[in-house]
């Protein structure tokens, strides 16, 4: 049997105690779009599944002061169609819209996307660029951690889904002079895993020509979602002109280390695409910042 019990806790506390009861042999399930294939192929084994998709604490897309909070059980479909996100964090809405297919978007959740720990996940990359922080609940209490810290290696998350529950994600809303964009390279226009994903968030300064801050996130070019920090440093505080941008993109393509992959392409091609995608995402983010 793939699992012996399928449980619907009524609250976050009940969910945590159900997990505790199974002492590591139960696991959280939300949409199941990543977990169920793993259980079917016997990559993972569990005794019980604890379904958190209906928990009230994990719902909602809200703005609270300057932060946007997204419940971990929110589906990609809701992220993609959220007016709030389209206006104030559009890279995330764009990333969510790029996930697999309508069916997967209706079922899959942002929390599941993160805990599945793939370096190119379509919502993880924009969330990284947005500087997201995760709220994680366990029987010991709740803690907050930056998103980046949750990734160990492909398929392995710091969040232990047999005892912890990712509750929500929070990041600063993009206000004036801030913009974001997401771009993706894939083999075909739907039902594809990304060859490369890139998300950029920019923060322009008062004169609108200089980059006060920039975050360049991409994947899969490493074991975890990747920030091109050296390239960011080369852009930060600089005026946005072609020479500066091209030089930073060159740095990014060097610090990202994609490898030869028969399915995704050669290292050389992928490195070249790092530049192209970051350039396009940067252009999109700058447009967003002017608006």
């Amino acid at each position: 049997m793939r699992w012996e019990k399928y449980l619907f806790p009524a609250s976050l506390d009940e969910a945590l105690s159900m997990l505790a009861e199974y002492e590591g042999e139960a696991r959280v399930i939300a949409g199941g779009t990543d977990l169920v294939p793993q259980l079917k192929s016997k990559e993972r084994k569990v005794k019980a599944l604890v379904d958190v998709s209906r928990l009230p604490e994990l719902q909602g897309i809200h703005r609270q002061d300057d932060m946007i909070r997204i419940g971990a059980a929110i589906t990609h479909q809701r992220l993609a169609s959220s007016r709030l996100l389209q206006e104030q964090a559009c890279a995330l809405a764009q990333g969510a819209a790029a996930v697999g297919s309508p069916q997967i978007r209706y079922m899959g959740t942002v929390g599941g996307n993160i805990v599945n720990a793939q370096p190119a996940a379509d919502t993880a990359i924009p969330l990284l660029a947005l500087g997201a922080e995760a709220e994680i609940a366990s029987i010991k209490g709740t803690r907050r951690e930056p998103l980046e810290a949750l990734y160990v290696r492909p398929g392995e998350s710091k969040v232990d889904a047999s005892s912890e529950i990712l509750v929500a994600l929070r990041f600063p809303a993009l206000g004036r002079r801030r913009g974001s964009a997401f771009t993706r390279l894939a083999k075909r226009r739907a039902l594809s895993l990304p060859i490369l994903n890139a998300a950029v968030v920019v923060h322009m300064d008062g004169d609108g020509r200089t980059l006060e801050d920039v975050i360049l996130a991409l994947g899969p070019v490493a074991l975890t979602p990747f920030r091109a920090r050296q390239a960011e440093a080369a852009l930060r505080g600089q005026p946005v002109d072609e020479a500066v941008v091209e030089s930073a993109l060159e740095i990014a393509s060097q610090e990202a280390q994609p490898r030869n992959n028969p399915l995704r392409g050669s290292a050389e091609y992928r490195r070249e695409m790092v530049k192209v995608l970051l350039r396009r995402a940067l252009e999109g983010a700058l447009v967003g910042a002017q608006a």
């Binding site: 083999k187 226009r189 399915l263 392409g265």
Partner: protein, 762 residues
């Protein structure tokens, strides 16, 4: 032209569409028989290895397992084109598909679990995964009787004219190598077999086969049982595209499990198994040398191919027979030489896939046509028009071209994409075209290329066509119904089509070579004409007229010239029946196309008609990523007559989606004999968002031998697409890709190399 017809030429909804849109249609996968068991197959862990030991004891002991078979439990059975393919392997495995053991259990889960309990000890052997490597001395030997790995029985050599002379007479000669990859059918319904013996030892097999009668014969030979004790029933099929044109090991295995257990056994592949174990399109390494005169007239074409036979000989390496038609006869070429060598490797073997070699050959030839045009500074459309086949041509191979709309196809497709305005423009958009020739009136590759039909008309006016033909979803049944309705003179709603049961229907060789409309259609027409004659003869006698003065149309019998005074035809059928010395209306038709079997030099008119097509494509290339976006495809197809225009367009659209995939997206990645991408996630067949605008242009040339002038057209739709795209890319950005699929990486690499060359030249 089609105003004279009541049903032919009218878009007609498919007969089986209502049952399919309600979920009522029963596919093989939906069948559940009482006491049915589920079969599973253990496949090899290595592409080349000796089998030292197989231990099935733990699997046999698993509750719910009713049988476990290995080679030692069955008589030695070898199948396949060269009978080199044991159904269950002992001693040696030669590719990762190799079937080592089979299990029948009470449910799917148990059947799969049992496989995990079978322990096989292997001694891994070095493998060879490239046909050129395989032919080198010292390469691992795959079959003991072919020490140099060459499958000599499949080696072919063809020529007409004298290519050396032809090259001497040329003003331009070009030489290139092309490579075509493994791709696979991706039928939405996976491979399937359900077998059941009755107490007298009669076998019924429910299958998705495209060739019920040849399948029956193949099963008989494989199992050593008389064919008359085998009944093959073709279920509703979830797609075939050529994958069901052979008998594969899993089918005799399924039957042997049924025999062993005394219960019905069903095997249905998982999607992963389908990617790994169902046959592929034949990959090709092709060297071509083409010559032409200054004015664009073709002088010579020399083609040599190396085919990867894979581990066992299946239909894939027989595709040169079809490729030969294109190589000898696409465009007028006075001198042709074609050589093929076929080598075993430890790769998966190939089978038949839509086009049967023609997509590969056409990609090579039509790329080269454009390259010739480029050398000559000629418009690629002009060079094609100059050399286009014309009605009445007899080619060097003895192919007799009757109806031929190639010139019309070229011009119509070009106009639809605004060829003159868009060709050779700067920027990153471009247009390209490619044409094709394919058999459209059967293909005499077997002693009989015929089809039998029976038509019965009952007392209430229901007309049943019992046909040997196979409908695999393409809509053949509906076309047959239209033909019968038209010929007999009854409403098409009165016609039911029954086929695909070897106990009931007359013989047909199978749904391949785009022959069904032509051959089965002609057969149905003959039977319908016979039924009409019987009815009108009865009417003549009853009404005191002579048969020549009567006619029947849309269910009404009337005197010619007096259509308002009619009687319903079923009334005549009843009166013919219910009298002393009465009779029912039971008619027959057998149609064998008037074609020749090829002689030892492969010459002969293999088909009774040939289809032609041209597809013209507009693309846009993203020069930063190398991605190619296809904006529009204009597909002009000479179909003789479109009996069901809706079905014809459906074949064009679907064929284009396959051709698009072949050109840009699809590749079954086989590395060291293993499939790296056995899933829909990693094998990129086109989604709706990848499809361009399509303009389907139906060209009707009214073939003299086809039923109501129709010719086959289903395979042609996927044949010219890939070369048209490659040619359009050249027009757009000046790079020539000689390997499919044309991936963004290949395009970008070629663009950079071109840029580097241009900088060097400065």
């Amino acid at each position: 032209m089609s105003e004279e017809f009541s049903f032919v030429g009218k878009p007609t909804a498919k007969l089986d569409a209502p049952s399919k849109v309600t979920g009522q249609a029963i596919y093989g996968h939906d069948m559940r028989l009482p006491r049915m068991l589920y079969g599973s197959i253990l496949r090899s862990e290595y592409p080349h290895a000796r089998i030292l030991n197989i231990d099935t004891s733990r699997a046999k002991a698993l509750p719910g397992v009713k049988a476990v078979l290995t080679a030692k439990d069955i008589p030695e059975i070898k199948i396949g084109w060269a009978r080199d393919h044991p159904v269950l392997k002992a001693g040696k495995v030669r590719c990762i598909r190799d079937e080592i053991a089979a299990v029948a259990a009470v449910d799917e889960e148990t059947a799969q679990e049992a496989l995990e309990l079978i322990r096989v000890e292997y001694e891994e052997l070095p493998g060879v995964f490239d046909p050129e490597e395989a032919m080198k001395p010292g390469a691992p030997v795959i079959h003991a009787d072919a020490p140099n790995n060459i499958q000599e029985k499949m080696r072919q050599s063809y020529y007409h004219g004298d290519v050396q002379k032809g090259f001497q007479e040329s003003d331009v000669v070009i030489e290139d190598r092309f490579r075509l990859p493994f791709v696979t059918h991706c039928c939405m319904g996976t491979s399937f077999c359900l077998a059941s013996f009755n107490p007298s030892g009669d076998l019924t097999v429910w299958s998705s086969t495209q060739m019920p009668f040849l399948y029956q014969r193949d099963l008989s030979m494989a199992l050593g049982m008389p064919a008359h004790k085998i009944r093959v029933i073709k279920t509703t099929i979830g797609g075939a595209f050529g994958s069901k044109l052979d008998m594969y090991p899993f089918e005799p295995i399924c039957i042997l499990l049924a025999k062993e257990t005394g219960r019905p056994v069903r095997i249905a592949f998982s999607r992963e198994e389908e990617f790994v174990a169902s046959p592929t399109r034949q990959p090709v390494i092709c060297d071509i040398k083409s010559g032409a005169r200054k004015d664009g007239t073709l002088t010579a074409r020399q083609v040599s191919m190396i085919l990867d036979n894979g581990a066992y000989s299946s239909w894939g390496a027989t595709t040169p027979l079809v490729m030969m038609l294109t190589i000898s006869s696409l465009y007028r070429v006075p001198n042709v030489k074609y050589d093929v060598v076929v080598a075993y490797t430890n790769n998966p073997y190939s089978g038949a896939m839509r086009g049967y070699g023609n997509p590969q050959a056409t990609f090579v030839l039509e790329s080269h046509m454009d390259m010739l045009a480029h050398e000559l500074g000629m418009d690629p459309m002009e060079i094609r028009l100059r050399n286009a086949n014309q009605p009445g041509d007899v080619t060097g191979q003895g192919v007799k071209i009757t109806s031929c709309g190639l010139t019309d196809c070229i011009q119509s497709a070009a106009e639809s994409v605004s060829w003159k305005q868009k060709r050779a423009k700067s920027g990153n958009r471009g247009v390209g075209m490619a044409s094709m020739i394919h058999v459209g009136g059967g293909a005499r590759i077997y002693p009989s290329d015929g089809c039998g039909s029976t038509v019965k008309v009952d007392d209430f006016g229901k007309v049943t066509l019992i046909s040997g033909s196979t409908d695999m979803g393409q809509g053949a049944d509906t076309v047959m119904a239209q033909i019968v309705a038209e010929e007999l003179g009854v409403p098409v709603e009165n016609v039911t089509v029954i086929n695909a049961d070897t106990d009931i229907t007359p013989w047909d060789v199978g749904a391949h070579a785009s022959r069904t409309t032509f051959v089965a259609g002609n057969s149905a027409r003959l039977a319908a004409a016979d039924a009409k004659r019987q009815i009108l003869e009865a009417a003549a006698e009853s009404m005191g007229d002579s048969v020549q003065d009567l006619d029947m149309k849309e269910g009404r019998i009337y005197r010619k010239g007096e259509p308002e005074e009619w009687i319903p035809f079923e009334k005549m059928v009843r009166s013919k029946h219910f009298q002393l010395d009465g009779d029912v209306v039971l008619a027959r038709g057998w149609y064998e196309p008037p074609t020749e079997k090829q002689d030892k030099e492969y010459r002969g008119n293999i088909s009774a008609a040939y289809g032609f097509a041209t597809q013209a494509v507009e693309v846009e290339v993203d020069t930063e990523t190398g991605e190619v976006k296809v904006l529009k495809i204009a597909a002009a197809h000479d179909v003789g007559r479109a009996i069901n225009p809706m079905a014809v367009e459906g074949q064009i659209h679907g064929g284009i989606s396959m051709g698009l995939g072949y050109g840009l997206y699809e590749e079954l990645m086989v590395q060291e004999g293993r499939v790296l991408n056995p899933s829909f996630a990693d094998y990129a067949l086109p989604t709706v968002l990848d499809m361009p605008e399509i303009d389907s242009i139906i060209i009707e040339t009214d073939d003299p031998a086809g039923p109501f002038g129709a010719k086959g057209m289903a395979e042609p739709a996927c044949i010219p697409t890939a070369p048209a795209i490659a040619n359009a890319i050249f027009d757009a950005v000046g790079v020539r890709i000689r390997e499919l699929p044309v991936t963004p990486e290949k395009v970008l690499k070629a663009l950079k190399e071109k840029q580097a060359r241009e900088e060097e030249d400065r």
